[in-house]
């Protein structure tokens, strides 16, 4: 009962962005996806969430095929995501950004909200309470009625994660959640994400901040040129020479690279750190 990629490929004309990735993600764990820029990390997320089509191969969640579904159907199958560049509903208040997520479950009764005010009030109150609870978890309750576009950057990142959680998704895809956050905010994010780990939730985090990935994730896959290069625990990833090489580039002169990798390892311990 997991999220499974089977020989997944994504091709843009001549360019192969994802080249036959097969792997699976178990629930109850936080999975990290790392790799140099252009390795195909975000493409994986975008294909899983239905933002991009799948060229060949398949994505299944608990045995159910996802890759042939429309984006909103994928969302309603229990996949939620955040975006590399924050995509909130800017001119809606923070709490409305969350409330609107009840649409798939409640739109069928929208006409009752129109003709029967007590029902509408009860629905609105219930939605608001549920969303307030989520906002409180992210310390955003004070911003509930502020337009999302007007929130500080760090709060917007949090709000986007909050929005992804409203539908209580099976799979939570986070595309660079720490991008642009300061140290304090990153620490806060780590704490929140750790608290979100639950036995039946699959969390996948694409991230460049290696400190965050190494502390947060239970399992890491390393992408390189659209291929799955390595898969293991954070310590296994840190010990892998292949990963070191991938991060330092693939120029022709392999000896130089190896020397550079050793130098770097000597200097920095093991942390390869890159930010886009």
């Amino acid at each position: 009962m997991t999220l499974v990629f089977q020989s997944l490929r994504k091709v843009y004309g001549e360019v192969v962005a994802i080249d036959g990735v097969s792997t699976d993600f178990a629930p109850g764990m936080i999975h990290g996806v790392i790799g140099p820029n252009g390795a195909g990390k975000s493409t994986l997320i975008n294909m899983t969430a239905g933002s991009y089509t799948v060229s060949s191969g398949s994505i299944t969640l608990d045995g159910k095929r996802l890759d042939k579904l429309k984006k909103y159907q994928i969302a309603n199958s229990g996949i939620a995501r955040t975006y590399q560049n924050i995509r909130l509903f800017d001119q809606m208040s923070a709490i409305e950004n969350l409330e609107v997520c009840f649409y798939p479950a409640e739109v069928a009764a929208a006409w009752r909200e129109v003709i029967w005010p007590p029902y509408a009030n009860a629905q609105r109150r219930r939605r608001r309470e549920k969303c307030m609870e989520i906002l409180r978890f992210f310390d955003l309750q004070g911003y509930a009625d502020v337009d999302a576009g007007g929130l500080p950057y760090g709060r917007q990142r949090m709000l986007e994660i909050a929005r992804a959680l409203v539908a209580n998704p099976r799979v939570l895809l986070l595309d660079e959640p720490a991008a642009g956050l300061n140290h304090h905010e990153t620490a806060e994010l780590t704490a929140k994400l750790t608290a979100l780990r639950s036995p039946d939730r699959i969390m996948i985090v694409v991230e460049h901040d290696m400190d965050l990935v190494m502390t947060l994730c239970d399992s890491i896959i390393v992408m390189h040129h659209g291929k799955l290069l390595f898969r293991g625990t954070p310590s296994e990833v840190q010990a892998s020479t292949d990963v070191q090489l991938a991060y330092l580039g693939t120029a022709n002169d392999i000896d130089d690279i190896r020397a550079a990798a050793q130098d770097r390892r000597a200097q920095l311990g093991i942390r390869a750190r890159r930010r886009s």
Binding site: S51, A80, R87, M92, V100, P104, Q123, V166
Partner: protein, 331 residues
């Protein structure tokens, strides 16, 4: 947070004054109307029809964020429903309420028919296609002589009556329109606050992210088009009944543009904004009638100054019916 609290505490008195002022003016106008000369009542009726049209179009433009320049097509569908079903043209003389129902259904169907091909379009592209759609409907009406009477239109429409009460004088139509505006306005306002209204707003803000949280944007947009078209069509049927004459001339592109302008000047996405926008763009030209050609210049200048002074529209988005009720009855 402290600053926000003080603001909230300071606001109610001002809000209360404005709410009562708005309320008082509306009541005074309604009470005075029966004593006004017919000409003035007709102007008010035309104002109410445009408010109705504005409320309808606002669903697509203001709530869902889709620029529709062909709204007048639905107005025409409603007007010709009445023209054909209650006149010697086809020898049909159906009751007014039944025609209203037929017009509403036809409006919804045309709304969906327009909606399906333009689902993928946004912004300028959508505006051009809907503009074309509006013109297509008008040109079809203009050329379908055997059915619609072509450019001559259809004359001698039946007098409307509801449950035996004849609606013929301008003041009768005033009450009919007022009730319709109140009902339609309330329904649309409640729709906007419902979960569907929230989804419309999400589509307006970021369509792709809206899909990402599980919103079937196709259905939500078609619902917006259908609701909006239904209202336009109802307005058209009442318009035809009050004029007792329909012709393609009433449904030119200029009408669509005027309604869009009303929404933009008044304040996009706000029902009260539409009332304000309609008041300026419909009443003002009437009041300035004696200045003949100069009034276009006046209107132009007014438009420019409004857009400079209040680019978001006259009525702020936050001052909606909810604020008014709260202002009137406290809490």
């Amino acid at each position: 947070m402290a600053a926000a609290d003080t603001l909230a505490a300071a606001r109610p008195p001002a809000n209360r004054t404005i709410s009562w002022l708005v309320f008082a003016i509306a009541i005074a106008l309604i009470v005075a109307t029966p004593f006004l000369p017919n000409y003035h009542v007709r102007v008010l009726n035309s104002l109410l029809i445009y408010i109705l049209l504005g409320i309808g179009l606002n669903i697509v433009i203001g709530y869902t964020g889709l620029l529709d320049l062909g709204f007048v097509a639905f107005y025409a569908v409603g007007a010709y429903s009445y023209g054909l079903l209650a006149s010697p043209q086809l020898g049909l003389h159906m009751p007014f309420l039944l025609i209203l129902l037929v017009a509403a259904c036809l409006g919804a169907v045309t709304g969906i028919l327009l909606g399906i091909p333009v689902l993928r379009l946004r912004g300028d592209y959508l505006a051009i296609v809907t503009l074309g759609f509006g013109e297509i409907i008008r040109i079809i009406i203009n050329n379908l002589d055997w059915l619609t009477g072509g450019p001559q239109g259809i004359a001698r429409l039946d007098k409307a009556s509801i449950l035996g009460i004849q609606i013929a004088r301008p003041i009768d139509f005033f009450w009919l329109l007022l009730i319709t505006v109140l009902i339609v306005g309330t329904v649309v306002w409640r729709l906007e606050r419902s979960i569907l209204g929230k989804a419309w707003a999400a589509i307006r803000e970021d369509q792709d992210a809206a899909r990402g949280i599980g919103i079937n944007t196709t259905n939500a947009k078609l619902a917006a088009f259908a609701t909006s078209a239904t209202i336009g069509s109802i307005a058209g049927a009442i318009f035809a009944a009050s004029q007792r004459f329909v012709s393609p001339e009433s449904f030119t592109l200029q009408e669509s543009v005027l309604i869009v302008l009303m929404i933009v000047v008044g304040g996009i996405g706000n029902i009260f904004g539409i009332v304000a926008g309609a008041a300026i763009l419909i009443l003002l030209p009437e009041l300035l009638r004696e200045f003949a050609e100069w009034r276009i210049l006046f209107l132009g200048l007014l438009m420019i100054s409004l857009i400079i002074a209040r680019p978001a529209g006259i009525v702020p988005r936050s001052f909606g019916p909810e604020k008014l009720i709260r202002g009137l009855f406290g809490k």
